[in-house]
Subunit: 298 residues, 2 copies
């Protein structure tokens, strides 16, 4: 049997009409083993539009859920994919997604995994591609907060990052919370991971890529030059490496960087408030780099 | 009596040693009426360093809390302000701040309020200030999410925004969650509010300020020109107006803008994933504007 009991909810219309359930409880919704519950309009809609997950059931709030146009579109998407649609109450949706902000929509689906770098077709700078093609990869070292990971994926997707690679160790997996924080970008954008970030960065450097790290202030980092992001020039394929909110990049990774970028602050900062949120800082750095591409019309 | 019973916690050392309490419960901590509980190292440390709140008690985790250096600094700060320090257990801290991420520190304090614009000393462009002094104010229309508000304040502070003004109606107040999301910036940076955003923007426009809005795509907004943020030139004092995550700027506010800025995307976007997180987008726009100041060495 592939089903397991989980949560408290009532599947289908019939359960919540009579009002004979004990208050605060609903009949449990059976979940397909190994499935997870996506929540929110964007993640569910994007997952329905892609063929990257197996989809089991779409749960829509019976009344007062998403706007009619949004609901209709989700039902049409589900029909096209052959996914059953169940209309349930708010309490059932709350139970399904653990009380998160579901906007009246949940989707039962198989999880998404990181892609392994070995699975990627190499963009191969050597294979006759124009040397002017400027590539930008974003490498995330030990980002553990799902809200930050989601926001980073959303920014990377929007701003045109060619590939995102995470360190597998100590990184947040691709959970439904990450998908929600990414506003669904996680559903359409591949995320790679590596078990050995150090070897990966060394290999890319040997191929001619520039490895660029970040620090929050003009502090000295061994022999790695630290420059303002406004002075950075994008002349060859870049890997931008971002560290975790608390600790930043590991020293080991910093030593593999060719240079470190700083976002200059606009005022004298109070000690202890000397940095930006990691997803804001990354958005600024990516935009600052990519705006060179846009300005040059590449 | 100025104290009220609230939460479940145990004040002082004695309560949690004997282990005779029923599991899962601790003695309640009395709270000063009208106080709130700040949580996290940065908000508590910044609040201790400023004279903007009345402070009642600092709560530190008895063991395994912040690093010793951080703890010592907090205790010294509290002593300097005459604030009693209580060493309590994790469960007590959890109860005090409603289970949020307290990092082993809570601080009982009076709330912070928005400042009214009338309280502000006008920077007065007319009062003999250099006309080359480029001012940047950030106006937030109906930002309701405390995490977004906090991240926006942190970015505004870091990047050198001269003043932040929120619409009082439908905006998130300056709660401890906002302070945490701002990494303490809310404790050192004044936040103003207005009951009448429309009149405020009209008055500033009449004074010669440029009112700049934002849209997520190159859509037409009545007769307001829409340009890429890369093309924007900072020639006079600016008000950058940001709308809420879901709905963006109200039409009423859009019509008061002289121009609208767009962050260009770096790829063809999937329908439904056509925007950035509001705090990331604002960080990019502020940095893009401020980088002109830095480039010109103003």
């Amino acid at each position: 049997d592939a089903r397991a009991w989980t949560g408290w909810g009532s599947a289908g219309r019939e359960a919540s009409k009579g009002g004979r359930r004990p208050a605060g409880r609903a009949l449990p919704i059976e979940r397909t083993r190994g499935s997870e519950i996506l929540f929110g309009v964007a993640p569910c809609s994007m997952a329905l539009s892609q063929a990257r997950r197996d989809l089991f059931r779409l749960f829509l709030k019976r009344s007062g859920g998403p706007q009619r146009a949004v609901s209709s579109e989700l039902v049409l998407q589900a029909a096209a994919r052959g996914v059953p649609v169940l209309h349930v109450g708010r309490r059932e949706l709350d139970a399904l997604c653990g009380g998160r902000v579901h906007q009246g929509v949940c989707l039962e689906a198989t999880p998404l995994c990181f892609k392994r770098l070995e699975e990627a077709e190499e963009p191969g700078l050597e294979n006759g591609e124009s040397p002017n093609r400027r590539l930008l990869w974003l490498v995330l070292e030990q980002i553990q907060d799902p809200m930050n990971l989601g926001a980073l994926l959303r920014s990377a997707y929007f701003l045109g990052v060619d590939r995102v690679v995470t360190s597998r160790r100590n990184s947040c997996p691709l959970t439904p919370t990450v998908s929600k924080a990414s506003s669904g970008a996680m559903e359409v954008f591949d995320v790679y991971s590596t078990d050995d970030l150090r070897s990966f960065l060394k290999a890319k450097a040997a191929e001619g890529w520039e490895v660029v790290g970040t620090v929050s202030q003009f502090e000295t980092v061994e022999n790695v030059p630290v420059i303002s992001c406004l002075e950075f020039r994008w002349n060859k394929p870049i890997i931008l490496v971002i560290g975790s909110e608390g600790d930043g990049l590991s020293l080991e990774t910093q030593l593999l960087c060719h240079q470190m970028l700083v976002i200059p602050s606009g005022r004298a900062l109070h000690p202890g408030i000397e940095s930006l949120n990691v997803s804001v800082a990354t958005g600024i750095l990516l935009h600052s780099i990519c705006s060179q591409k846009l300005r040059h019309g590449d």
